[in-house]
Symmetry: C2
Subunit: 157 residues, 2 copies
């Protein structure tokens, strides 16, 4: 493919928070981000997939150093939305494959996903933009994931 | 907040495809993207949220002009993975809020989500990167969404 991969970026200082089975109706996203913003929390990844039977899951990552603010944030959020449960996970790492032309290059994603799967690394979350394919994986898999991705995209040559 | 919003980008020529209840185990993402890549399909957004009880949904968007390749792609994919159903939706629009400093600025997301909710625009999918907040909404809501976002981020001044 013609995509130019410029590098593999990663972070291990994040915690992911998932509200499961929120209503897929206008206002819910706002009622989650509002309280986070009011507490000045550093939100990085926000991922929400399509609603199924009127419900969806809503996940965001925050800086782990701000984890102490989560109780208050969740307390505020639960006053205005329904959800099944909140899952908090600080054992994650964010890995991003950065380049130009990643959009419309299913080949880059296919290559990255194949390399990770061959190394038994589970992909927890996927979020893409034109220049970046962002994956959330388990922290313990990070070192291997970065090496594997460097190898298949030939970034050390 | 200090985020600089440079603009609102949008596209209406995409179709979203969701495989529901795929197994959240290594190899599944690869078995979906592989066939898409082999058919040279233009994949743009890929969104996958966390697994719940070992299952998750996997969504990607393609150029609607390539919709005719979908039957073959799904045919190939279903040979190697289990899923509950495939949902195909070409009545979507992708809207992106582009800027610097969007990451760590829950305020930008909060502001965007509130403006959309006040206008009864449902947010179908969310995918973020440091410089871009990407939303998938219904095509019929696009014109209003772009206007609303331009207004609240004061982009016409
Ligand atoms: C789930 C959430 O994004 C909802 N669809 C909203 O528009 O706020
Ligand atoms: C769902 C899918 O991403 C799976 N977790 C994988 O690693 O391939």
């Amino acid at each position: 493919e013609n995509a130019e991969i410029s590098g593999i970026a990663f972070q291990t200082d994040q915690t992911k928070v998932t509200f499961t089975a929120v209503e897929d109706t206008p206002g819910i996203a706002s009622k989650i981000l509002g309280p986070l913003s009011e507490l000045d929390m550093k939100v990085d990844v926000i991922v929400q997939n399509v609603g199924i039977e009127g419900k969806t899951d809503f996940t965001f990552t925050i800086a782990t150093e701000e984890k102490s603010l989560l109780d208050e944030a969740i307390n505020n959020i639960q006053k205005s939305i329904n959800y099944k449960e909140v899952i908090i996970d600080d054992e994650i790492a964010k890995v991003s494959i950065v380049g130009v032309g990643i959009r419309s290059h299913a080949g880059v994603a296919a290559k990255a996903f194949q390399a990770l799967s061959e190394n038994e690394i589970n992909i927890g979350m996927i979020s893409t933009s034109e220049i970046k394919l962002t994956l959330v994986i388990e922290k313990d898999d990070l070192e291997k994931a970065v090496k594997v991705l460097h190898d298949i995209f030939e970034l050390d040559k």
